[in-house]
């Protein structure tokens, strides 16, 4: 009996040892915000007034390259088209919409910049556009970005395009504020500005719509990497959308969509998978 009790005691000892062994400090699980990966439905921010990229039709439907890419990526994340809610965003509201969670992702001609990366995370880029300049048909003095010196340039709030001209390249253009590129185009036609300078894809969409009234000078001077805006810290989502973008280029969807939306614009379209920004 004594021996048996000794066994019991040694059992208790072993148990204590084991409990001690497991209760060693176990590091906390992966930090960061909850991921949008695995969500059943998604709210996606797109532009509402950029023909070819993100445009809201009178019936409320959204159409454009960004919208199609968003659908493709959402499908790869397991979300069917009828579980996507498209939410209109502007250049000014993109960061806040992601930060306050009113949208899960942003596909809105959203150039990846180091400055923006301090506030949001970027998957992709899913395309690399180039900044160019659009003028009225009759304009003969503007041939490249340096000719904007002394001219009236449309400056959209929240957009970086005008900063590229007046800050980064230090070209002394006169800035005329606007809230969107569709407003800029109206102002261009009304002679309230002399030029609109932004990504060639955006300009091509408007040029397509306005026809012979406007002209793109065709002197691109930057690489604008269109990223997929995600809440900062959601590394899993960033990795998942990068895999989706890779698949989109490999299976030919990217080339098909580029030709569908910009095939007639005369732009040189690049159908190779872009160099990703990287997650986290």
């Amino acid at each position: 009996m004594n021996r048996a009790r000794a066994t019991v005691r040694s059992q208790a000892g072993a148990a204590a040892l084991l409990v001690l062994a497991i209760s060693l400090p176990s590091a906390c699980s992966a930090g960061g915000p909850p991921s949008i990966v695995g969500k059943q439905s998604l709210r996606i921010g797109v532009k509402a007034d950029q023909p070819g990229l993100g445009l809201r039709l009178p019936n409320g439907r959204f159409v454009g390259f960004d919208v199609d890419v968003a659908r493709y990526v959402a499908a790869k994340l397991g979300v069917s088209p009828d579980h996507i809610t498209f939410v209109p965003v502007t250049s000014l509201t993109r960061e806040t919409a992601l930060e306050n969670g009113s949208v899960d992702m942003v596909f809105a001609t959203y150039s990846i910049t180091p400055e923006r990366e301090t506030k949001v995370a970027f998957g992709g880029p899913y395309y690399v556009a180039h900044q160019d300049t659009m003028v009225r048909r009759g304009e003969t003095t503007i041939h490249n970005v340096h000719d904007l010196k002394g001219k009236r340039l449309c400056a959209v709030a929240g957009s970086d395009s005008w900063k590229r001209v007046t800050q980064e390249l230090n070209i002394a253009a006169t800035l005329v504020p606007a809230t969107s590129y569709s407003q800029c185009v109206t102002m261009l036609l009304d002679h309230r500005v002399d030029a609109v300078s932004t990504d060639d894809l955006i300009l091509a969409g408007f040029a397509n719509r306005e026809g012979p009234a406007v002209r793109i000078v065709n002197a691109p001077f930057s690489d604008e990497r269109y990223g997929i805006g995600i809440k900062k810290g959601d590394v899993a989502a960033c990795e998942a959308v990068n895999r989706a973008v890779t698949a989109m280029y490999l299976d030919g969807t990217a080339a098909a969509l580029l030709h569908k939306w910009f095939g007639k614009t005369g732009l040189q379209l690049d159908t190779h998978v872009p160099q990703f920004e990287g997650c986290g």
Binding site: S10, Q11, A15, A27, S29, H130, F221, S222, T246, G278
Partner: protein, 485 residues
Amino acid sequence: MLATATPPAPHQRPRKWWPTAPIRRLGLQTTPGRIRALAAIAVLAIAGFYIVTNIAIGNARDGLRVIGHDAGPQVLATGDLYFALSDMDSQVANILLTGREHNPATRQQALNSYNQDRATADRAAMQAAELSANNPIDQATVRSVLDGLGRYELLAGRAMVLNEQANHPAGPPPGNVIAVYRQATNLMKLELLPPAYNLTLEGGATVRDAYVAKRAAVLSSRLWVALAGLAAIAVLAGLQFFVAVRFRRLVNPALALATLGLIALSPAAVRLLSGEAAQLQAAKTGGFDSILTMSRARAISNSLHADESRFLLDPGQADAYRLAYLDKSQTVLYVKSGNLSQYYTGLSAAMKAYPRTVSFLGFYGDEARAHPGPAVAAVLSRFQQFQADDQRIRRLASAGDTRQATMLLTGRTAGSSGYDFDQYDKAVRSLIGLHRGTFDHAIGTGDRELGRSILGNWAALLPLAALGAVILVVVGVRPRLKEYR
């Protein structure tokens, strides 16, 4: 206690709450039946402990394999591939820029670097292809990079021949040379570098996924291993107790030995798993994360250095190259700035405040916060020197002195930008080497611990120990059962 307990009335059999018929069918009302049942439960408990522990160790082994032997090395190989490709284009730009005014030694050095890069790219691509043997998409990507490299070499070769014929002074070559170089560098930028960089990132993502999943599995499996061990010990002790009481023996040596074996083995297995989780963490956060960050920083740095050359080489694209240079500089080390001259100022201010405060972001911001020390400080001061050179080069260029700007850029002797960039790159490489050491050590320790236990290899020990315990149970109860024959 026993003395004061009220003894039950002898003629009154207590009613049992469980149905007695099935128990009778199993023969549990007899002593040999009970011994047999307890022995069977003990064997099952030992098997359970073996299975749970084996799965847990399998998770640790999988984690080490992916991080230490598959995706981890893949990241290094594709990082080397990117760097070699990017540097080839950089060397071509330098050769085209210097024209006839080169110091023959400098030109030969550039050509040697070009050829070396070519060999490195081949080797790294082979290695990357080998490491992605089970991933057809990655393999196709590597193959397409190698195909593109052949086309790139043709274009670069043609540009260099045309350049030789042009026999121009230092500075931008004639238009026909620039036109061919543009084709080459666009091919590099659009078709070769992106897949190489994305492979590196994909390797990083694979490592992260494996780390999160496997480390969590290893940590939580410790509880199951401990519980399974405790259960087996308890059943063995119960059997021992039962046999001791029934047969008036103090101890059954075989059963005692089996129990002692499990008492030794269970905590050792739990300790092993804790150790493996710690090594996974050390390899990932102490080594791998920084290797990935610094490899990316090194790749982007090489590319921005080349943008400096291209800025001088191709005046038609100078704006684009200047903007790309600023973007890439900010990716590597971010200080708030609207243009390059603000960047130079912001960088100096940030470096003055360092190491008191890390006021900058980007790759080096992450690294300086995660692993402060002399190695990262060396990288930062070299980077600052390189940026100071850049400022001089651009000042010369905007004053129209492209020749001097080119000499400063392409020189390889002390005081030239080329020299300072080499020093900077060396500092980055030695920082990567430092983290590589941490990484290799953690993976090596993890591997060794798995392969080693007090009694030998865990892979061999665990099944042997489980089998031994089962045999001991059989050996322990068989003589007792014989007494009933």
